[in-house]
């Protein structure tokens, strides 16, 4: 009997289409795996009935000879930042606990239209703010990976899409949605040895996605290989008139366009990413990546992205500034938590509700954002950060004169242990150092597994492409995937 947990998106889709197995069989098998993996805490809500319902519809359509969608029969996990009609949507916060939307986000609706089914709502860092999934109101997600030191220290699955990364690595689902504001798809993908792509800003509609930082938020797929990412991105992307920042462009056939022959492609290696004291294993993996791409026919060129060191501080001004405003709607008036102390007035209700409803990291970012936008500080912080953002984008523009893609590590380290960085927000923020520049510039960027470090933990290689050139990014990812021989898996300890 087929072990459906070992099949990826393409394999399930093709198997269902070819009649090798029924979509319902896949849904049942994965529902069971989800139910048995509670120790990972990857899901906030499980929706086995949704998975079955979607699978039955696909089986019925196939039996009737109707054309099947791009994701027909594929059960997936949905990051709990996407509003799902009739299913609780929390952004992993207390303030939205119990909130059941009457509407479906455009991206999730696109996926259901393509024939995918929902296994459940995946845990994440609260309001997608975090790099370890430790800020969720619903508890930490635990990575299925463990260090090879014999100790069983629980590790972070990365963040903010930590439920997504953990669930895919543990083979609870073949793929899941993620969102990436400053690395929230790429860093968790790297931490658990899977692939994930953040497309060009505007490819995926933000309508119905709980907002963190509007000018940076971008949805994307996470899966166990590059092809699966390509398939799922095709299903997710597309112009949406309900999102003014959505790109009015046709969705390319990325899967059909996959081609790992990189002849004629120039790969830029940015010297500024080679930080002092860079982890030895990371440096080695990067060198391997360079060799693989060269082997695939690409030419390697040294490039400079001179403003890289200002990216992180700029990001941690812009993202909290937008967040402080985006999160103002959680005020206890219309939906979600309301804390109304005896005899309280409106202002007291706001204060009590928001103090009780937001976690510490969310409150910290609201405070930072409020501060940088306030009178007298706006120019010194927000305006300055926007200028830096322009310079970062220009760095990339200049780089494209001499290269077509950029290769760099996804994160400066492998997964860290839960609790290791929570007392030091700055060191946590530093984990985004390689991911943030592409976010600020709105460029497509992908993480693919690049190998294991000395502790036996996965490391990720990041490929950054030109705006709208997801195809080149996916192709380079595929070239690495074919050469890295990355087959390592987390042991099934849960």
């Amino acid at each position: 009997m087929t072990d459906f947990s070992r099949l990826g998106v393409a394999a399930i889709r093709d198997g269902v289409a070819n009649g090798e197995f029924k979509a319902v069989e896949v849904a049942e098998a994965l529902n069971a795996r989800v139910a048995a993996a509670k120790a990972l805490n990857a899901f906030i809500v499980e929706t086995p009935e949704k998975a079955i319902e979607a699978a039955q519809a696909v089986d019925t359509d196939r039996a009737a000879g109707k054309p099947l969608g791009k994701m027909a029969g594929v059960p997936i996990g949905m990051k709990d930042l996407f509003c799902t009609e009739g299913v609780q949507t929390t952004a992993a916060s207390h303030i939205l606990e119990g909130f059941v939307p009457t509407y479906e986000s455009t991206v999730s609706a696109n996926l259901w239209k393509a024939g995918a089914g929902m296994l459940g709502k995946l845990n994440l860092d609260q309001f997608a703010m975090g790099s370890s999934n430790e800020t969720s109101y619903f508890g930490n997600v635990i990575s299925p990976w463990r260090r090879n030191d014999g100790g069983n220290a629980p590790l972070a699955p990365g963040g903010s899409s930590g439920g997504s990364s953990s669930a895919i690595a543990a083979r609870l689902c073949p793929a899941a949605t993620g969102t990436d504001t400053g690395g929230s798809i790429r860093q968790p993908a790297a931490f658990v040895g899977i692939s994930g792509i953040k497309p060009t800003y505007g490819r995926c509609s933000r309508w119905g996605v709980v907002a963190f930082a509007s000018s940076l938020d971008q949805a994307g797929p996470m899966a166990r290989d590059v092809r699966d990412c390509a398939i799922m991105l095709e299903a997710m992307a597309g112009f949406d008139p309900k999102d003014s920042t959505s790109l009015d462009l046709p969705v390319p056939a990325w899967e059909a366009g996959l081609n790992s022959d990189l002849k004629g492609k120039r790969i830029g290696i940015p010297k500024e990413y080679r930080l002092d004291g860079i982890d030895e294993d990371i440096a080695k993996m990067w060198d391997n990546g360079i060799a693989w791409l060269k082997d695939a026919g690409a030419e390697i060129v040294d490039i400079s992205l001179p403003h890289t060191k200002y990216a992180l501080p700029a990001y941690y001004i812009i993202a909290p500034a937008e967040a402080s405003s985006n999160l103002a709607r959680y005020d206890g008036v219309r939906f979600g938590l309301r804390d109304l102390p005896e005899g309280a007035g409106l202002q007291d209700m706001y204060a009590a509700t928001r103090a009780a409803g937001f976690g510490e990291e969310v409150r910290r970012r609201i405070m930072i954002g409020t501060y940088v936008l306030s009178a007298g500080f706006y120019d010194a912080y927000y305006t300055q950060a926007q200028k830096v953002r322009t310079l970062i984008a220009r760095d990339f523009e200049n780089a494209w004169a001499s290269c077509d893609l950029i290769l760099a590590p996804t994160a400066p380290s492998a997964a860290f242990g839960l609790g290791e960085k929570t007392s030091d927000p700055l060191s946590m923020y530093l984990n985004d150092v390689f991911a943030v520049p592409a976010s600020l510039a709105g460029l497509p960027a992908m993480s693919v597994p690049g190998g294991l470090d000395k502790q036996g933990l996965p490391l990720g290689l990041q490929i950054i492409g030109k705006a709208l050139d997801e195809q080149a990014v996916l192709n380079a990812g595929l070239a690495i995937e074919q050469r890295s021989g990355f087959t390592a898996e987390a042991g099934e300890w849960w």
Partner: protein, 488 residues
């Protein structure tokens, strides 16, 4: 314009006034959502997911609202900014679901313009003053709190939440309550001509924030106060008067004006402090990252320009050229409602002079008596044209026309029908008139003698008697001619 001065103990004071007029944009749907903008609906019946700021909802600009703002800008000869941007104005309040108002602080859609204001619109000799307009920007309205629905709770109605407003910001160019009143009247007239705002202050579609300061004539600008949300021209003028006097009294008694936000209480006819500068919100304006900048292309601007109607100043000049008196031209163009009514009358083929005279004396007089506005007139331009046509072609006399008009107002019947049914048609039958004249002369021999001996004034008596005998239906010109002949 006349100089308005406040007489203080230390001499004369000059008032400096600037206005921020909030005008609701005429549009079917809200600025960033498809909800209806209809007035007076059940609370919370015009509220979309976007208006209620549900998680993940995004604003999509309503092109029509931007178009109306651009057309308004063009009507005041303003700079139209081809590139503008929306900003968020952040503050918490229960009537503001998003926790921010989407507005335009840094890059408004309309830049500098001006309008010409005459202190008395109906007096063509009144001096003309140009009032500068600093900007027009587009923003969302908030919802409404209702505090009288429940003993311990306040209710929120979000029907207005997200409705588009234009904020029209003047320069501090006005120097008297009268100038401010004339400015708002002219502005409202332009908005109604353009069709970008209905100008109904009672319904809240137009309201003003009034900035007032005082200074010694020509001196340095004083500290200003801002009186919020004044919703009639009369209240605005009262608020300015009160506020200017209060500031003068304050300064002269050794105090200082504090920059603050005030409210006008129309019952007590006074302004009072709402919040001082220290308590002022820090709105933390920043560009709305959910929205792209607004870029206007040539085709859009061209369409906006082409769709503008003839504006009041141009219309007045044209009417004067058509032979109307300056007074009539000014009155007919001051309000869009009047001008459009008159235009329809002209379109029905009515002579401009005849039409304007009738409209201003007969129609206005009748409406005045009925206590109705022109929009509520029981007689429409087409019906009026029918009546005036009967006068023009000699079917009825002017005096009969007055009777017919009264019947029209009462019954709603058409003029021709009334004339027919009541037999009011004017007669040109000289024989019948001559017969009546003969009878009158026979009955008034003494007066005939007096007339013939030089008492010319008695001619009117004979005209009146003849008309009376003819029951008003005789052609007055023919009576004149025949009487002259008969009396010799």
């Amino acid at each position: 314009m006349s100089e308005y001065r406040i007489q203080g103990n230390t001499g004369e004071w000059e008032v400096v006034i600037g206005l921020e007029v909030h005008a609701q944009v005429t549009s079917e749907s809200k600025l960033f959502s498809g909800s209806s903008t209809g007035f007076g609906a059940e609370p919370n019946s015009h509220v979309s997911l976007v208006d209620a700021a549900m998680p993940g909802m995004l604003p999509v600009p309503n092109r029509e609202c931007l178009r109306q703002a651009v057309r308004t800008g063009m009507a005041i000869n303003a700079q139209i900014n081809r590139w503008s941007r929306f900003d968020r104005k952040n503050y918490f309040y229960a009537d503001l679901p998003q926790g921010y108002q989407i507005s335009q602080l840094y890059h408004p859609i309309v830049g500098e313009g001006e309008i010409e204001v005459t202190l008395n619109e109906k007096d063509p000799d009144s001096a003309v003053k140009k009032i500068g307009i600093e900007r027009i920007h587009v923003e969302q309205d908030a919802g409404k709190l209702m505090h009288d629905q429940h003993p311990t709770m306040s209710f929120v109605d979000l029907n207005r939440s997200g409705v588009a407003l234009m904020e029209i910001v003047s320069r501090p160019d006005m120097r008297s309550p009268q100038e401010a009143g004339a400015y708002v009247k002219k502005l409202r007239s332009i908005l109604r001509y353009v069709g970008s705002c209905d100008g109904n202050m009672e319904q809240g579609s137009m309201r003003a924030d009034v900035n007032v300061s005082v200074r010694k004539p020509g001196g340095e600008l004083g500290t200003r106060t801002e009186t919020k949300n004044v919703n009639s021209i009369r209240f605005m003028m009262q608020a300015i008067e009160y506020e200017a006097q209060r500031q003068v009294d304050l300064i002269e008694s050794g105090g200082a004006v504090v920059q603050e936000t005030r409210l006008f209480d129309p019952n007590k006819m006074e302004t009072r402090s709402m919040r001082s500068k220290e308590d002022a919100h820090d709105y933390r304006y920043f560009p709305d990252p959910d929205l792209l900048p607004v870029e206007l292309d040539d085709a859009f601007l061209e369409e906006c320009r082409a769709s503008l109607p003839e504006l009041p100043d141009a219309k007045r000049v044209r009417y004067e050229a058509m032979g109307l008196t300056a007074y009539n031209a000014a009155v007919l163009t001051a309000e869009a409602e009047t001008a459009f009514w008159f235009e329809e009358l002209l379109a029905e083929g009515v002579d401009a002079k005849q039409g304007s005279n009738w409209l201003m004396s007969e129609l206005f007089g009748a409406l005045n008596k009925l206590g109705k506005t022109l929009d509520e007139s029981p007689v429409n331009p087409k019906q009026a044209a029918e009546l005036l046509g009967l006068v023009a072609d000699g079917t009825i006399s002017g005096s009969i026309a007055k009777q017919v008009f009264e019947i029209m107002l009462e019954t709603g019947q058409g003029a021709a029908t009334i004339v027919e049914e009541k037999g009011l048609k004017q007669t040109n039958d000289t024989g019948a008139i001559e017969a009546e004249i003969a009878k009158i002369m026979a009955a008034n021999e003494d007066k005939v003698t007096e007339y013939r001996s030089g008492k010319d004034k008695l001619f009117g008596f004979f005209v009146g008697q003849t008309m009376k005998a003819m029951q008003g239906k005789a052609n007055p010109q023919i009576i004149n001619d025949l009487l002259k002949k008969a009396l010799g």
